[in-house]
């Protein structure tokens, strides 16, 4: 493993938040270590195949867009490689001390018993392992062997051993081709256990059990003898009786611990003295055993302790900042009353289990089958809010993600079922048998409020209803039962018309709520961090990722209840907080500021003028290669080619000695390209980088061809099919050789970057972004179209939680004023913007007074742009707004409350109408802030007039996350809530002095008439993104006029055009605190680009061969990133190397290869195709 002991940041948790934060910092050229207690990365997302709205994955879109060559370019579920990131799995943070900028941390690594550096994932061990265990990855729905892959798709994918299930038969160690399994009994013999008991029979049986397990057991009959023995024979573990004649076990514990603080002690006790044992644990005992016990109680405990003590080792590291990205846990439905029979009825599953059921890597390979009998599912229901929004279950919060997850799962079910019927119709041709297959699946979602609170969510839900016929029943289900004969699940519920009905289902999915992740509590102790009442890490009011302890930040769900895009945003915000600490530390230590990257780039030999000299090193893997293909024949074939200087066969390239031999062989030649034919390429990524530095050959002129796949597969086949595998090996080798021969040896260009930024809009998001940028050392131009910065905070009064927004604004303004690197331009707008990422040239127009004379125009240069133009309350004419003075909007009420213009009389009877013109076409989205605002204002009005009668007319209360608490509180505080059906909205009549609101109350199905002193309309939010600005910037707006992000989940802040980012309410409606968080996150996205004065362009960036180019501009149309432009005199096509992602779309449309993707040019591709057909022995194949 990596021996590095200092990192800029430690990220705990390798889920998406951890990955996002780590990548962000890595791209700022910070060294990051990620640890995760799971044996694989990816967190919860590695178990989910599909995310809405695309209903696919898309996680890879998180990968860096610039400096891509530093990291891996493949599916993120497989793994993550980045020059600046080290990843340690099966490891936990176990200790923390020091201060921000200089934390000493301890990392506790758990052994997996398989050397990850040597395991090539061939899977031979799995075939011989005799033991079977339930599979955690598939939520226990399937099984795996005792030696297994924790995640099926991760790469490198080292096997791990579940020691609890392992019988140490040694079969895996014997068959392992690389000797990666470390399961030797010899290692256990070095683990010494001292057994102290006055009863000989106990000593004897323990000695026998422990010795049989391979441990070294020592015996002592009394405490005194034990202490003597410990002097001569240091032991790692002591098992001691409590009741002994002379020295008691407790006394022995004290004595032994005094002398040997690291000794691990387990108390053995009769039932009567359990309390003593528990007491003993407080004074240093690790655990206790109740006598009498059997080996199957003792041995697992000893093995667990053995793993912890002996095999695990703590790494001590110094880090400057700590990011907690430990993700989320889930409510366990069987824990409390288990009203849904989870674990009792076989077809009741949690939503996470259901994700595994429909996953192609899941237990059913994506089949929609019942768990009890494997029959196809015809009727399925989702029950929402299981373990959330439930005070009886300690969950006075909304889990935020389950509504959309359930809708997605229902849509996927429908899609899968449609596929099932399609398969059934073609099954005759393929010979698959499908019993009772049908495309019809009935899907019902039982919900309380449909919380479609995000951008595009409402349309997704509408689409589920209209396109996919997903049924929604607004009713909380109290419990369910199972029919005896068919084992169908019966759900009783309250239908829309108020009648009580029952329905039968094949499967019921429980949408279990989020809970803090397991390790949250222990981490809070280690890091001395407070937790919220719900048990998540507490964060500061206007900084959603900053914990009260400086230097420690929380990313994503660790700070509670986030969906994917929010997690990704908050992770970037967390990266900013951490980045700031690192930056401050860097400045204070006067470390050389990171200049260009070439100071770090190792100097590789320039081979661009040399003829191709290719070295091929082939791993023989013992005799496995020669069993499949004749090495001599390979040598013979390749020696024909004058460009191949040498072909060497090396045994076990994966071992240290094999690798050294290979390196020697290469250095003995004058090779300038190296092909290694061995196992999976990803296993070698880091090794190749290191080898490249020693050999002075650029890593992209070295490659690994996976020839062992067919070799291993051949081993299991009949000899007569061997030639086919041999052909595959040969073809793979040829392909690899051809590609390398054609590889472009020129060094990448450096692209200059203007390290300044432009922030458009000085609302809270824009100001926060500007501050974050300036704090990181970048000059910022902050432009604002109005006379004063502050945006909506100029009129907003308080947050839902009661914090003063005016104070927050004032503090922010003060910081802006004090920050010399920020230049604020008020009454200014952007009128022109040219250039591309890294180098923008903008023109701003400053117009202090109305009238053209005073207009000033200035030019600005910058490398990145942050759009923070915000949004405002939507105007409306509905519900007599504008015709009756007592009908006002939420904003008007907020201003009047702030200015204390509301009298108690005016607050006598207040009707609040939510979702005015919202969540229906044409503004079919939820504005997210109005429901909490209504709660907040209701409380303010009640403060003003305790007798106030407040009626809130709503469609679905969107109090997601912890704002649910305030909903509960408002209910308790006598605020009246009445749902209304959007098809029969309330009416407001303005003919009288006091407006009269009428509606049909849906529960009682009776008309209600309220004569109101005040009618408050929640009209929601519309974006401020003028068409002209979008055009000038070259960015898109979404259906509703908001900033169109590159990808709603994975790149929520980026424009499709690289170098332009957005934050705040121009993205989508959000609260002030959330807007500030997005400001920090957007700053992070920009700093990736700005952190160096020049960025080396990536190797896989398309280039134009101008001498061949006919300027047909088809490549400009084809480029999905807008990276191509025609130069000003229309003579050349230009490629912005920071924006180009190397997809090759341009090359495919170019008829004569004037546009090429180096490494994958037409010449290389055609040669590769050719190589596939090369045959080793033409007459014998």
């Amino acid at each position: 493993m990596n021996e590095q002991t200092t990192y800029n940041a430690l990220v705990v948790g390798a889920g998406i938040s951890g990955i996002r934060a780590a990548l962000d910092l890595a791209q700022e050229n910070r060294r990051v270590l990620i640890v995760d207690k799971r044996p694989a990365m990816g967190g919860i997302l590695s178990q989910l195949d599909f995310q809405f709205p695309s209903n696919h994955c898309g996680m890879c879109k998180m990968l860096p867009l610039v400096r891509r060559d530093q990291g891996s370019q493949f599916c993120l579920r497989k793994g993550l490689f980045h020059e600046n990131i080290d990843l340690v799995l099966s490891a936990e943070l176990s200790g923390l001390s020091g201060e921000p900028g200089n934390f000493a941390v301890k990392i506790h690594e758990k052994p997996t018993w398989v050397d990850p550096d040597r395991c090539v994932g061939c899977g031979l061990c799995e075939t011989v392992c005799p033991e079977t265990v339930p599979d955690d990855f598939n939520r226990g729905l399937s099984t795996h062997k005792a030696i297994y892959l924790p995640v099926p798709h991760a790469i490198p994918n080292p096997y791990v051993i579940d020691l609890a299930a392992c019988t140490r038969c040694g079969a895996c160690a014997d068959i392992c081709p690389t000797g990666a399994v470390m399961l030797s009994t010899a290692e256990r013999q070095n683990f010494h256990i001292l057994v102290v008991d006055d009863e000989l029979s106990v000593r004897d049986s323990l000695k026998e059990w422990l010795t049989e397990e391979g441990f070294s057991a020592h015996m002592a009959a009394s405490g005194e003898e034990a202490l003597e023995k410990l002097k001569t024979r240091p032991c790692q573990l002591m098992l001691t009786d409590i009741k002994m004649p002379e020295m008691s076990g407790t006394a022995l514990l004290h004595e032994a611990k005094k002398a040997y603080p690291n000794l691990c002690v387990v108390m053995m006790t009769a039932y009567a003295t359990v309390e003593t044992a528990v007491e003993a644990m407080k004074t240093g005992a690790a655990d206790y055993l109740i006598k009498p016990f059997q080996p199957d109680t003792l041995i697992p405990m000893v093995i667990r302790l053995y793993q912890d003590i002996e095999a695990a080792h703590d790494r001590e590291l110094t880090v400057e900042a700590l990011i907690l990205a430990t993700g989320t846990g889930f409510y366990h439905p069987a824990d409390e009353k288990n009203i849904f029979g989870y674990g009792i009825f076989p077809n009741v599953v949690t939503n996470l289990e259901f994700e595994r059921i429909i996953s192609h890597t899941g237990p059913h390979g994506g089949g929609l089958k019942r768990l009890d009998n494997g029959r196809p599912i015809q009727k399925i229901a989702w029950i929402q809010c299981v373990g959330s929004r439930d005070i009886q279950n300690n969950a006075d919060f909304c889990s935020t993600i389950c509504c959309m997850a359930a809708v997605k799962e229902a849509v996927l079910t429908k899609t899968l079922a449609a596929g099932r019927s399609a398969e059934a119709s073609t099954s005759q041709s393929t010979g698959h048998s499908t019993e009772q297959a049908t495309g019809q699946v009935e899907t019902v979602i039982f919900y309380m409020d449909m919380r479609a609170w995000g951008k595009s969510f409402q349309r997704y839900v509408d689409n589920a209803i209209t396109e996919h016929q997903v049924r929604f029943e607004r009713c909380r289900v109290h419990s369910l039962s199972q029919t005896k004969d068919t084992r169908e699940l019966e759900v009783a519920f309250l239908a829309d018309d108020g009648s009580r009905r029952t329905a039968l289902f094949d499967m019921v999915v429980l949408s279990v709520g989020q809970r803090p992740a397991d390790q949250t509590e222990s981490l809070s102790k280690i890091c001395d961090l407070p937790l919220t009442p719900a048990g998540f890490f507490e964060t500061l009011p206007f900084a959603g990722s900053r914990t009260p302890r400086e230097g420690i930040v929380a990313a994503g769900s660790a700070a509670g209840l986030k969906d994917i895009s929010e997690s990704v945003m908050l992770a970037s915000a967390a990266a900013r907080e951490a980045g700031q600490i690192i930056h401050t530390k860097t400045i204070s230590e006067k470390r050389p500021a990171q200049t260009t990257e070439d100071t770090e780039t190792p100097l590789y030999r320039d081979v661009s003028r040399e003829p191709v000299r290719l070295f091929i090193g082939i791993c023989t893997c013992g005799t496995r290669l020669s069993a499949c293909i004749q090495p001599d024949a390979l040598t013979q074939w390749f020696s024909l080619d004058p460009e191949i200087v040498k072909i060497s066969f090396v045994d076990q390239v994966c071992t240290a000695s094999g690798w050294e031999k290979l390196a020697r062989e290469i250095s003995g030649t004058r090779a300038n390209r190296v092909l290694i034919a061995a196992c999976h390429p990803y296993v070698f990524i880091k090794k190749i980088t290191r080898l490249a530095r020693t050999l002075g050959i650029a890593p992209d002129l070295m490659d690994v061809a996976d020839i062992m796949g067919p070799v291993f597969r051949a081993a299991a086949q009949a000899p007569e099919t061997l030639s086919a595998f041999a052909a595959e090996v040969f073809s793979t080798l040829n392909q690899g050789a051809e590609r390398l021969k054609q590889a472009d040896p020129t060094a990448p260009d450096q692209v200059p970057v203007c390290q300044r930024a432009l922030v458009i809009g000085a609302g809270i998001a824009g100001m926060t972004a500007a501050l974050a940028l300036a704090d990181a050392g970048h000059e910022v131009d902050l432009i604002e179209k109005t006379h004063q910065p502050g945006g909506n905070l100029n009129w907003l009064d308080q947050t839902l939680e009661g914090a003063s927004l005016a104070d927050f604004l004032q503090k922010t303004l003060d910081r802006i004023q004090k920050q010399p690197r920020i230049t604020v331009h008020t009454t200014t707008r952007l009128i022109a913007c040219k250039g591309l990422a890294g180098q923008f040239h903008s023109t701003i127009e400053i117009c202090p007074e109305t009238g053209a004379e005073t207009k000033q125009v200035r030019d600005l240069e910058h490398g990145a742009i942050i759009v923070a133009t915000g949004g405002h309350e939507a105007p409306t004419t509905s519900f007599c707004h504008g015709t009756h003075p007592a009908v006002i909007t939420q904003k008007t009420l907020e201003i009047r409350l702030r200015n204390q213009e509301i009298t108690p009389e005016q607050a006598g009877t207040v009707v609040m109408i939510l979702c005015v013109d919202s969540r229906q076409e044409p503004r079919n989205y939820c504005s997210r802030v109005c429901c909490p605002t209504a709660l907040k204002q209701a409380r303010r009005l009640q403060d003003l007039n305790p007798d106030a009668a407040i009626y809130v007319l709503y469609r679905d209360m969107m109090t997601v996350g912890f704002s649910e608490t305030y909903f509960t509180r408002a209910r308790g505080d006598n605020v009246m809530f009445m749902a209304y059906d959007p098809k029969a909205p309330p009416r407001v009549s303005a003919e009288t002095d006091t407006p009269v609101v009428t509606l049909k109350e849906p529960v009682l199905n009776q008309p209600v008439e309220i004569s109101a002193d005040l009618v408050v309309l929640a009209t929601g939010m519309v974006p401020d993104l003028p068409h002209d600005l979008a055009r000038v910037l070259g960015i898109d707006k979404d259906n509703d006029g908001f900033f169109q992000e590159a990808e709603s989940k994975w790149r929520p802040l980026d424009a499709l055009k690289e170098g332009i980012f957005a934050c705040g309410t121009v993205l989508s409606p959000r609260s002030a605190a959330e807007a500030a968080d997005t400001g920090r996150a957007a700053a992070t996205r920009a700093i990736r680009l700005l952190s160096a004065p020049a960025i080396a362009s990536d190797k896989t960036v398309a280039v134009v061969r101008h001498s061949l180019c006919s300027l047909c501009e088809r490549c400009i149309d084809a480029c999905p990133y807008g990276a191509r432009t025609l130069n000003s005199d229309h003579t050349r096509i230009l490629v912005n190397t920071l924006m180009c992602q190397g997809c090759g779309a341009c090359a495919a449309v170019c008829p004569n290869d004037a546009s090429i993707l180096p490494g994958l040019s037409a010449r290389q591709m055609l040669e590769t195709v050719d190589a596939v057909f090369e045959q080793l022995e033409p007459d014998r194949m």
Binding site: G58, T721, F725, A1145, A1148, V1169
Partner: protein
């Protein structure tokens, strides 16, 4: 037609989705036939019709282009562009007497290891049914 026809299938697979699925099929030890040659490309949108023509002219019995599902392309829309090119080729290939059924386009997502394996097996079945590619490789090169 021929007694022991081992069809050779060339598959242009996208780096992000289908290649990952192939990897997954490999690590999950799902059987897929040995007569498949994978050529990894960054995106199906970069597969020039020339590559496919070349594969057929060199004697491929079938060519598969496989990438991300619609809406899931790592490069936003490369798979849609690929679909148009495949459509084009399916019109052109019959001109030279190569059945359009020999060219296939599929979407196989990163987690669809099983789908990948099934697809490959099915392709071999179909390739056997179609018989050898009628191209005489001597005359075309």
């Amino acid at each position: 037609m021929t007694q022991a026809h081992h069809p050779l299938i060339i598959a242009f697979v996208c780096n992000w989705c289908t290649y990952t699925a192939a990897d997954l099929a490999g690590t999950s030890r799902l059987a897929y036939p040995e007569n498949i040659r994978l050529i990894r490309v960054m995106c199906t949108g970069m597969v020039d019709p020339q590559y496919i023509i070349k594969a057929f002219l060199e004697g491929a019995d079938m060519v598969l282009v496989s990438g991300c599902h619609p809406g899931d392309c790592h490069y936003i829309n490369g798979n849609y562009k690929a679909r148009r090119r495949i459509k084009l080729l399916k019109e052109i290939l019959p001109r030279i007497g190569i059945e359009k059924e020999r060219l296939k386009l599929t979407w196989i997502g990163a987690s669809d290891g099983i789908q990948f394996s099934k697809t490959m097996q099915e392709l071999v079945v179909q390739a056997k049914k179609l018989g050898p590619n009628p191209v005489n490789t001597q005359s075309v090169r």
